[in-house]
Symmetry: C2
Subunit: 116 residues, 2 copies
Amino acid sequence: MTVTTEVQLHLCPKFHAAVELIGKRWSGAIVQLLLKGPLRFQELQRAIPEISDKMLSERLKELEANGVLLRQVVPETPVRVEYRLTEKGQALEGPLKMLSEWADTWLLTPDVFTVP
Amino acid sequence: MTVTTEVQLHLCPKFHAAVELIGKRWSGAIVQLLLKGPLRFQELQRAIPEISDKMLSERLKELEANGVLLRQVVPETPVRVEYRLTEKGQALEGPLKMLSEWADTWLLTPDVFTVP
């Protein structure tokens, strides 16, 4: 292996961080749902029946800590809490749309695949 | 919530399967490296020093089982084993490139972010 090849094989740490962020179980799903507009906790729960309250809560906190979404308290009676994407989160629309198109083309039915 | 909203909030199972496949720890990294051309096990190891032999081996098997890459035995002396993307794997170039661009724009340095 030449030195040039070794340099080319360097893994981009930013890319890896992005995959880790979006690829965490249900994180991509949450972002994809929020691309359609702000949602309440219960609405996200209903859209992802497989997720537990605890995990949904954890993922929302992680995505908030990473600046992907905001937790917004709407001063109504009763108070309404909404989750909405930031500009950074909204910018994931392109990559997620392309991944979705890839999935439509290349994945027949999810249960055929061996992702545990 | 109206019935229409509920329909819109349905999570696409193919999209979710794609995120799960690529988002598994190091899977995205392996595919990104192979986009540059076929690589041997040792070359992948060198490019991802943090990955253990066992995990690299597991990920390669999963990606092979999902039709993303092929394990190819090149009949040389000594025998050379290479991993190369299939057409399906190569088609991930677009989505991963867009995610990489998002990361370049929005992630400052990976250690700033709180992805464990």
